[in-house]
């Protein structure tokens, strides 16, 4: 296989990280909504925690993005 082709395939494979980030972010917002609908008065206090969880889950997907960019443009 040519190195250029392997590079592109590798960058494509790195996009799988997005699946994990999607599951994570969906779980966090879904669980927040579930909790918020059961006890709306406590929802506002947990908004900060919601965003922290979102940021941490999103980061794993972004690592995949960074890997793809490294493969495409650095190597």
């Amino acid at each position: 296989m040519e190195p250029a082709a392997a590079k592109l395939i590798g960058a494509g494979i790195a996009c799988i990280a997005l699946a994990g980030a999607g599951i994570g972010i969906g779980t966090i917002f879904g669980a927040y909504l579930q909790g918020a609908l059961r006890n709306p008065s406590a929802a506002a206090g947990q908004f900060t925690n919601l965003l922290i969880g979102f940021a941490l889950a999103e980061f794993t997907g972004l690592l995949g993005f960074v890997m793809g960019m490294l493969l495409l443009f650095v190597f």
Binding site: T48, L51, I52, F54, A55, L56, E58, F59, L62, L63, F65, V66, M69, F73
Partner: protein, 258 residues
């Protein structure tokens, strides 16, 4: 990242991140030229200063329109600092406020067409993250001395668990500057590249003869993406400031017993 697709009609979505020098300036072998990145960073700072100075110039007891906007901005950050660090952590308010204002303004400035997004480069966000972590380390060590290392060993666990917890805590602490900087830069870069990719779909479909009617579809999608990008621009600035608050509050005392 100089990849041009000229010739086959494609738009290079990464061209917008190119750094252009406005004049050459070298000092001690380092390239300190004034670039479009430095220009837009200065523009962001100037806008924040102008906004705050203009909003607070009257200092009226009953605020006018501009002053309420400024007070809203101030109160928003003050609320975030108070809720995460308490009144005692309010000494870090100037740092957090400056970080939030700078990151938010740079993110929003990048939404203008042909404007450069300062925060889309890891050199910029990495410097910001290193600054935050330096403050965390200096504050932690000056406040607790060597007891700072208790941060890595939370009290009240069974002894065998410490062999697992301590390495995890150390790794998660070391990963903080990376996660802080990569999150901001990758979000900005990926979002802006996405907008350009959808915009290039419009151009490509527009030149496709009978199918050029379909160009409206990526155009509508791109409109929605621009809206999403405004949300992301705000959210990432908020997350950056919020995580800085939390890292500072980690070393401020409650988690490190005396």
């Amino acid at each position: 990242m100089g990849r041009t697709f000229e010739g086959n009609g494609l738009v290079d979505p990464l061209h917008q991140f190119n750094i252009e020098r406005y004049g050459e300036f070298h000092l001690f072998g380092m390239d300190l030229s004034f670039t479009n990145s430095s220009f837009f960073a200065l523009l962001a700072v100037a806008l924040v200063v102008a906004f705050l100075a203009f909003g607070s110039r009257k200092r009226a007891l009953v605020p006018g329109r501009m002053q309420s906007l400024t007070e809203l901005f101030y109160e928003f950050v003050a609320q975030m600092v108070r809720s995460t660090m308490g009144q005692e952590g309010f000494r870090f308010f100037p740092l957090i406020f400056s970080l939030f204002a700078f990151v938010l303004t740079s993110n929003l400035l990048g939404m203008f067409p042909y404007f450069f997004t300062v925060t889309s480069h890891i050199a910029v966000t990495g410097a910001l993250a290193l600054m935050v972590i330096s403050v965390v380390l200096i504050y932690g060590f000056s406040r607790h001395g060597l007891k700072f290392f208790k941060l890595f060993a939370p009290s009240g666990l069974p002894i065998p668990l410490y062999f697992v917890i301590v390495p995890i805590e150390i790794i998660s602490f070391l990963a903080r500057p990376f996660s802080l900087s990569i999150r901001l830069f990758a979000n900005m870069m990926a979002g802006h590249a996405l907008m350009k990719v959808f915009a290039s779909f419009v151009i490509m479909l527009g030149g496709a003869g009978a199918f050029s009617v379909l160009a409206i579809l990526p155009f509508l999608t791109n409109t929605a993406v621009v809206g999403l990008e405004f949300l992301i621009a705000f959210l990432q600035a908020y997350v950056f400031a919020l995580l800085s608050c939390i890292y500072l509050s980690d070393v401020s005392g409650e988690h490190i017993g005396h």
